[in-house]
Amino acid sequence: MPSTQPEEDHGPRAVRVTPTRGVSARPAGQDREFTVEARSQGRLILRRFLRHKLAVASLVVFVAVVLFAFAGATLWHYSYDQLTPDISAPPSLRHPFGTDSTGIDLMAMVMRGTQRSLEIALFVALAATCVGTVYGAIAGYYRGVSDTLMMRFVDLVLTFPTIAVAAILGAQVGTSAGSWFFIGIILAALTWPIVARVVRGSVLSLREKEFIEAARALGARDRRIIFGHLVPNVMGPVIVSVTILVAAAILSETGLSFIGFGVRPPDTSLGLLVSQAQTAVSTRPWLFYFPGAFIILIVLSINFIGDGLRDAFDPTQTRVRS
């Protein structure tokens, strides 16, 4: 098959033929002329997401926060563990967020803390999603006794109070250098059942669809059906639940660090910063407000992004805009 097609004009109704291979993106304008639906599902979802103004604004904010934390830290001339001569300085041009009682620049600390908080949250999201998706897909696909047993275990894990368990386990791990990583693992271990439940619910209805039966009739093995057909089709609800998980993980990490079981000095996190500032609320309020504001900014923006994604994935949102 040739990689390009001669463009011929065959009167007013003729459409140019787009090549099958080689070019993956096809010119949209030509398709639009003839069918309203000539768009990939991904583009439809993107389009619906872009319609959700608050979600788009939140995405911008979130990306800005990520850039600020990771790119900003490399550019900013102070580091989070570097002492400066300015002790307990209020916000100024030199120190936009002020400094703490040891003279460390708060903006550098907030950058570092945001990095840690985001790292933990994203790790939790990733780990919980992978484990929960596989677990839920298997339970939903096989049903029966295995499903019953697997889901009872999920129920059991969900009864654990996250903060309490994390606090106890976190204390066991101690002050090792990679402690943020352990907090991530603990939070992930306690939150994957949420994803598992979402996935199992979707898989239960998906497995009755004819395309699953079609795959079985083709002789596909279970592994192929689960990972080739079921998992890709539950990504919508999974992504939505992940945004909730990320927000929850950031709050959990904050809570843990606040009560002293999370990230420990000399490293820092947003929760730890807030906790360290609790005595200074009245005297040096900037120490409290800046990290606090970042927590709210991150959690809110992720929640709104989640809202937008949920609407974008919801097939009932397709047609009529009232």
């Binding site: 098959m1 097609q5 033929v17 787009t18 090549p19 099958t20 291979r21 993956s24 096809r26 069918t35 639906e37 000539a38 768009r39 990939s40 599902q41 019953t148 669809k209 004819e210 395309f211 039966e213 079609a214 795959a215 079985r216 009739a217 083709l218 002789g219 596909a220 093995r221 192929r224 080739g228 057909h229 890709p232 089709n233």
Partner: protein, 351 residues
């Protein structure tokens, strides 16, 4: 397009042996109560003592109304549903005793086309990926996969350049063609067509019916055509088996069965189908059956159709009715030219 043609000339010895033979197939489902272990509270008698054969290159129409067990039969034929008893022999191999690996290989020989073309195509895959999936699963056509898929698309009347599109971009008829292309990919000998045109608009279903007809001629395929619409079946089938509540009540050559239906249910079914011709339609005599199909969890004793049978209600005396209640009528030749499962079968031209 020679590469997907089969060597199934009508004169070959294969034509004499049935490609599929179903013998005394019984499929029961347990009805489970709720709870962790769920006690069995009843049994759905979905398919009862169904036997039929399909020969290479021919179409058997399996017709009946919803809940008659025709879909369950088709799934059992494909080994997608376990038979409670009885045998499904594909080219003399019993599906029930086949180890999983042999079964997977056997799947290349028999494929299915589903009713709802949208539901049977994975919305996340492109058309190319959908049609190539069976090739990938069975590891065939590795080198010429692109050409082969393009060829399959052309075979079913699709533009081969649309392989990178998604199912939702196609019309209903085109989606069904994608499903047919996927089913043809492994060069099967038998296609199970489960209501393949019921979800399509008439102007489009006609093209798909013609396509199936052409493919059969060209590739020598055998079809098990499952449908509720007798008028479609009349157009595609060589032989017809009519199912009611899990049993075949009448079977025969298509022309013969439509000309001289002998089972009261077949007669009612044929006479209930409207004909798009106002004069004929208004002059027709209707054989009306009362009520609806009883639940397959508790089928009537004896003849399963007797609860709705106009003959049972109006024309049989007490002794005859007792026979219908007590004795299950065998599917047998009773002088009507084809097998029928009614003690008092009587061929009546309905059309």
């Amino acid at each position: 397009m020679t590469s997907i043609d089969h060597d199934a000339t009508p004169g070959s010895p294969d034509a004499l042996r049935p490609i599929l033979s179903v013998q005394d197939l019984v499929v029961h489902f347990p009805v489970r109560g709720r709870g962790l272990l769920g006690r069995t509270t009843g049994t759905v008698h979905a398919v009862c003592d169904v036997s039929f054969e399909i020969y290479p290159g021919e179409t058997l129409g399996l017709v009946g109304e919803s809940g008659c067990g025709k879909s369950t039969t088709s799934r059992a034929v494909l080994g997608l549903r376990r038979a409670t008893s009885g045998q499904v022999l594909f080219e003399d191999q019993d599906l029930a005793n086949l180890p999983p690996d042999r079964m997977r290989r056997l799947r290349r020989q028999m494929q299915i086309v589903f009713q709802d073309p949208m539901a049977s195509l994975d919305p996340r895959l492109t058309v190319y990926e959908i049609i190539a999936e069976p090739l990938r699963i069975h590891g065939v056509h590795k080198e010429d996969r692109h050409q082969y898929v393009a060829e399959l698309m052309r075979t079913v009347g699709l533009n081969s350049e649309h392989g990178n599109r998604y199912p939702h971009e196609f019309s209903g008829g085109q989606r069904q063609r994608i499903g047919i292309a996927r089913a043809l990919a492994l060069e099967p000998k038998l296609l199970v067509l489960d209501e393949p045109v019921s979800a399509l608009d008439v102007s489009i279903q006609a093209g798909v019916v013609n396509l199936l007809d052409d493919l059969q001629r060209r590739l020598g395929l055998a079809y098990l055509f499952v449908a509720h619409d007798l008028s479609v079946v009349r157009h595609v089938a060589d032989r017809v088996a009519v199912m009611y509540l899990g049993r075949i009540v009448e079977t025969g050559e298509c022309e013969e069965l439509f000309a001289n239906p002998a089972h009261p249910y077949t007669q009612a079914l044929i006479s209930a189908i409207p004909i798009p011709d106002p004069r004929k339609e208004r002059e027709r005599r209707r054989i009306v059956v009362s009520g609806e199909m009883p639940s397959p969890t508790d089928p009537p004793s004896g003849c399963r159709f007797r609860t709705r049978c106009p003959m049972f209600a109006d024309r049989l005396d007490d002794a005859q009715q007792a026979r219908c209640r007590q004795e299950t009528p065998e599917l047998a030749e009773r002088g009507q030219g084809h097998p029928v499962a009614c003690h008092f079968a009587e061929a009546v031209p309905v059309l």
